[in-house]
């Protein structure tokens, strides 16, 4: 690792993040994560891991998947690939295979962003790399998605991962990722640094389902470099309880005519604190961005739904949309849409609405024989089940299924 990166990380060890509750890393760092056995196929991982994988859209039988990567705690336990168009492997393997890979590390997420990125960088240097490397080869178009899973199996673990995803020129890459915790884990911390690079004419769809435990803190850090004529689509689903999650992925639309779409579905339950944002910097001529989020707060949950759209050159276009339903008096939704225009000839807008379930809609459904509870649940599920666009048909129906499964618990 570059000395410069390490130096920055060292200095940022105590640097608090801009948003989200400050997590005491000492509590987690001391705990040594156990080693886990390597397997050659996803369906050879322990049964209890497999059951959890299914819940986050990762299929242990790998049907209609082009490859799989599974990390349990700090160990990459499985990586398989059945396609010649794409590559998926642990970062440790990839760094040995490709000398150039280090040039992509810490370029879209700075190691000194905060103490979480700093710890990830320091750990990478001291204990070896973790996380996955994914790449689609130039001009390739693999319709079946790759799947990756981060699984926390041990108590009090701080899981770190540093992922690098590269879509080469004119390639199309579809990824499903699921993150989950074992049933017996009550307290843990996950920090995932993900760096995306889209070369000219490339497209990535990244669909992520989170299913953490009630006492788990999550701090993903994501940067996306979007090149000329390329498209990045992110779909994020979280409906199960978590102690806290704070994430604010940033897409740098530096390419001309680059496009970004963020869609997120957030269901707050119990004492969860969800602080989720997305940021797009429109710096390439003709670049476009859209961010859509749907949030529902129940119980005592708190949801911060942030969005920042910056138009910094001419002929760029962006729209930010955040709709929230507050279902209990003890819960909260805080929508923070921000628009920043620093050029002429740009078009940016936002739309935010936070409210309760419309009584008129509940009455309509009760007059068709549903109970009030059934009516409310149908309306909430409808509200959250927005049409996820931009996916190939195979993946669209799969995503719909994943979404429906996530909404069962709401």
């Amino acid at each position: 690792m570059l000395r410069d990166t390490l130096g920055k990380a060292e200095k940022a060890k105590e640097k608090k993040a801009l948003y989200g509750e400050d997590i005491d890393l000492e509590k987690f760092i001391k705990e040594e994560a156990g080693e886990h056995e390597q397997v050659t196929k996803a369906n050879e991982v322990p049964k209890k891991v497999q059951d959890t994988l299914l819940k986050v859209g990762v299929d242990p039988n790998e049907s209609e998947r082009s490859g799989t990567f599974i990390q349990v705690d700090q160990t990459g336990v499985c990586s398989t690939c059945g396609s010649e168009s794409v590559e998926i492997m642990g970062m440790n393997v990839a760094l040995e295979k490709y000398n150039w890979l280090k040039d992509y590390m810490w370029k879209s997420v700075a190691p000194d962003t905060d103490k979480y990125t700093a710890q990830t960088a320091l750990r990478e240097a001291n204990e070896g790399p973790s996380g996955y490397f994914i790449r689609s080869l130039p001009g390739s178009k693999e319709v079946f998605p790759l799947q990756a899973c981060m699984f926390i199996g041990d108590e009090k673990v701080m899981q770190t991962a540093h992922n690098v995803i590269i879509a080469e020129e004119n390639s199309e890459l579809h990824i499903i990722t699921g993150c989950a915790t074992g049933e017996d884990v009550s307290s843990a911390l996950h920090v995932g640094v993900s760096e995306f690079y889209l070369k000219k004419g490339a497209k990535i769809t990244f669909t992520m389902v989170h299913n953490w435990a009630e006492q788990v803190d999550v701090r993903p850090r994501t940067g996306i470099m979007v090149g000329d004529d390329s498209t990045y689509i992110s779909n994020y689903i979280l409906t199960s309880p978590v102690r806290s999650i704070q994430s604010y992925p940033t897409a740098y639309c530096t390419g001309t005519n680059s496009k970004v779409l963020f869609q997120s579905i957030l269901g707050g339950q119990k004492d969860s604190v969800l602080d989720m944002g997305s940021r797009v910097l429109l710096e390439g001529e003709g670049s476009k961005a859209e961010m859509i989020s749907r949030a529902v707060s129940k119980d005592q949950s708190q949801i911060y739904s942030r969005g920042h759209l910056a138009g910094r050159t001419q002929n760029v276009k962006g729209h930010l949309e955040c709709h929230g339903l507050v279902l209990s008096d003890d819960s909260m939704i805080y929508a923070v849409p921000e628009l920043e225009g620093s050029s002429t000839e740009l078009e940016m807008s936002h739309e935010a609405a936070v409210g309760k379930i419309a009584e008129e809609e509940v009455l309509y459904l009760t007059s068709r024989g549903l109970t009030e509870e059934e009516a409310a649940s149908m309306i909430v599920r409808g509200f959250l089940s927005m049409d996820i666009t931009g996916l190939p048909p195979e993946l669209a129906s799969e995503t719909k299924r994943m979404l429906d499964a996530s909404l069962q618990g709401m």
Partner: protein
């Protein structure tokens, strides 16, 4: 029966009896309380019965909530139902026809009924009432009633905003819902229909008409005579003829 809405007395003295197998028409100027009567029979929470009771098939249902009343066989077709984002017409039809919500497909019987109502599978996949045209709303409402099979059905302006050729289509299904295809003595289902002297009555035979004025039933009688009267004399004139006022 007397009914208050947010502390205001809207229905003052309503006495209405609809026998098994009968269809009645409810007429009256805007604001006379026609919709209030519907919502009260449905049991919507804002509508408080301050005096009297509602009997359905001999049972007092005044204290039951809407869901319970609907489960006993009360049905309604709304004039302007709300759109619900993300809830597809198909999802509702499954619940209404007693299918499991996670059934992938609608039952063949329901699909056949939908085709009869000129609503194809793409339409069934749309969010309920979202961007529906006036006629589509009415056809979707009637289709939902066909799924529910209620014993007593209230129709609020079932033909408003519907083009003429589709009124006949709607009327045909309303007649089936109201057992009009059976001989009068064999009819089981009853109905109450709000219409603005609608065209629909050319196709749906009603047994009795009532004129609602100022929260009271001011006049009852033969539907065609009453309608003729209202056409000639207006609501006020008609009510005077009745001599009940």
């Amino acid at each position: 029966m007397a009914v208050e809405v947010s502390g205001k007395k809207v229905l003052k003295d309503i006495d209405l009896y609809i026998d098994e197998g009968e269809t009645h028409v409810l007429l009256g100027p805007n604001g006379s309380g026609k919709s209030t009567l519907f919502m009260t029979i449905l049991g919507f929470p804002k509508y408080k019965v301050t005096n009297g009771e509602i009997l359905f098939k001999g049972e007092n249902i005044t204290d039951l909530n809407t869901t319970e009343r609907v489960k006993k066989g009360v049905g309604v077709s709304f004039q302007n139902p709300p759109a619900i984002r993300g809830v597809r017409l198909m999802d509702l039809l499954k619940v209404e026809s007693g299918q499991k919500p996670d059934d992938e497909e609608l039952s063949p019987e329901m699909l056949e009924l939908a085709y009869k109502m000129k609503l194809d599978e793409n339409f069934l996949d749309r969010d309920v009432n979202l961007g529906f045209s006036g006629g589509e709303v009415k056809r979707s409402e009637i289709l939902q009633l066909l799924a529910q099979k209620p014993d007593f059905i209230m129709f609020d302006e079932p033909d408003s905003g519907v083009d003429i050729e589709n009124v006949e289509l709607l009327a045909e299904e309303i007649n089936i819902l109201l057992d009009k295809d059976k001989k009068p003595g064999l009819r089981k289902n009853s109905g109450l229909l709000i219409t603005h002297l609608g065209y629909i009555l050319n196709f749906v035979n009603a047994d009795t008409a009532h004129v609602l004025m100022d929260g009271r039933i001011a006049c009852s009688g033969n539907p065609s005579e009453i309608i003729e009267d209202i056409r000639k004399e207006g609501f006020k004139g008609c009510v005077q003829c009745c001599g009940i006022h």
